[in-house]
Amino acid sequence: MKEEWDRLPQHDFLALLREKYTHLDPVRAFQVVAERSERRGPALPHGTTILAVRFDGGVLIGGDRQATTYTEIADRNIEKVFEMDEYSAIAIAGVAGPAIQMAQLLRTQFEYYEKVEGTPLSLEGKANYLAHVLRQNLPAALQGLVVVPIFAGYDPRRRRGRIFKYDVAGGRYEETDYYATGSGGKDARSTLKKRYHAGLSEEEAIRCAVEALLDASDEDVATGGFDWVRGIFPLVKVITQEGARDVPEERLGEIAEGFLNAWRADFAARRNATRSED
């Protein structure tokens, strides 16, 4: 009877790669890299600031668009936020290559599961699966190939947005209100901490996120902000009962411009005040 079970279609895509398509198994691939790489790790681009904010009726997830290698800009146009399916998305900081690959793997896994089982994986199940994948990446992480994701989604069963953060060892922690990580994560968190309040609306959440991303790019050189010259803006998605959608760039630009104008005026006033004192 054992053979009968082994022949069954599986719902675990990663297990399928591990058993049948070993050349595509990311865990193996990165372990090889990890064993060969130097202690400090190779010079690889890093994704920088990502964040998530829970609001009334859903959750927001976003990130800046820059990848940075040491002090060099590796990419100005990178995407760090990926829709996993209708109700969930992942944002990724850390070493960009494995991070993006991990997002692809997860998206494939969730979709594979949904098609094989005829029912989508629960949000809880998706969050846990990501923890397993990270745990398997631990040897690579210890060598410098660190992937730091935030997973967020709308839980149709519990009827609310949820945010999950992770450590490199696969530890999974649920955040009730907001979270930000990556090189500018601490700066973004400071802003979110001060701006967050009970009963935050979707619109307020978007404003909070834009302000936090502006602050992160202001304080952290690795984080890209709003690039008005090239027209590259952070990527922000909101996920509600109606599904996931991008916040339009124009909207993000408007909000950011509002903040910048206010700050510009304020700084000008400060300069004038200093001058008149002299």
Binding site: M1, E4, W5, R7, L8, P9, H11, D12, Y113, E117, T119, L121, S122, E124, G125, K126, A127, N128, Y129, H132, R157
Partner: protein, 240 residues
């Protein structure tokens, strides 16, 4: 060269069918029905240790009739698969529908193998819903050939399951208190028994378990024989 032994596929299937049917028909029935707190399972079983009804996962129970040697490994492998799935994803992703499909594939695979004896089993996979979730109770029957059927309110597996199902169609009432639900299930089992030759179904001959939604994470509970004796001896409500 000896000429190959030729049997028509039709004949093979017919003989397999006969063999499996006979095996299952020897098995005493298991009745599952909805009651006020979930699902109750009642079977005739003289053994106090070789169970027909068992726990699979938080909200899922399993019942098997036919050849014990064949359905008990299916139970264990079901537990294995459920635990692995729950550990990989989350506990809420382990459902009766999924498990019933797995059983259907395994049993169906054996059924279709040319050189394998069909499994002489019939299974029941049941799940209680969560009260605030709009989830209903689920009852799936899996036949010896791997066919799945889903039932509402009550389900019966075993030799004379058809007759008992017809009896229950007339007598079943939803949301009964536990004692009355057990008595109803016992009467259903007795409806196909030869009372004179076999005697009444007393607590000593019964195996009873529940999936009780009011319990904690693990909804499954066996009702011990002492408790069962007590429950069966309380006078029935006047309406009966």
């Amino acid at each position: 060269m000896p000429s190959p032994f030729i049997v028509s596929p039709e004949q093979i299937m017919q003989e397999k069918d006969e063999l499996a049917r006979k095996g299952v028909q020897m098995g005493r029935e298991v009745v599952a029905l909805q009651y006020e707190n979930g699902l109750v399972f009642v079977a005739e079983n003289v053994s106090a240790t070789l169970y027909k009804i068992s726990e699979i996962y938080d909200r899922i129970a399993f019942a098997g009739v036919g050849n014990y040697q064949e359905y008990d490994p299916l139970r264990i492998v079901g537990i294995e698969q459920a635990e692995v799935k729950g550990y990989t994803y989350s506990r809420e992703d382990v459902t009766a529908r999924w498990l019933a499909n797995l059983y259907s594939q395994v049993i169906g695979n054996v059924w279709r193998q040319f050189d394998m004896k069909p499994l002489e089993v019939e299974l029941l996979v049941a799940e209680v819903g969560e009260p605030n979730d709009g989830f209903d109770h689920r009852l799936y029957r899996i036949s010896y050939s791997g066919q799945v059927a889903d039932d509402r309110n009550f389900s019966v597996i075993g030799g004379k399951s058809g007759e008992i199902r017809r009896w229950l169609e007339e007598h079943f009432r939803p949301n009964l208190p536990l004692d009355e639900a057990i008595r109803l299930a016992v009467r259903a089992l007795e409806s196909v028994r030869d009372r004179e030759a076999e005697g009444p179904l007393t607590a000593e001959r019964l195996e009873v378990a529940v999936l009780d939604v009011t319990r904690g994470r693990r909804k499954f509970r066996r009702i011990p024989r002492e408790e069962l004796t007590e429950r069966l001896s309380t006078p029935p409500a006047p309406s009966e």
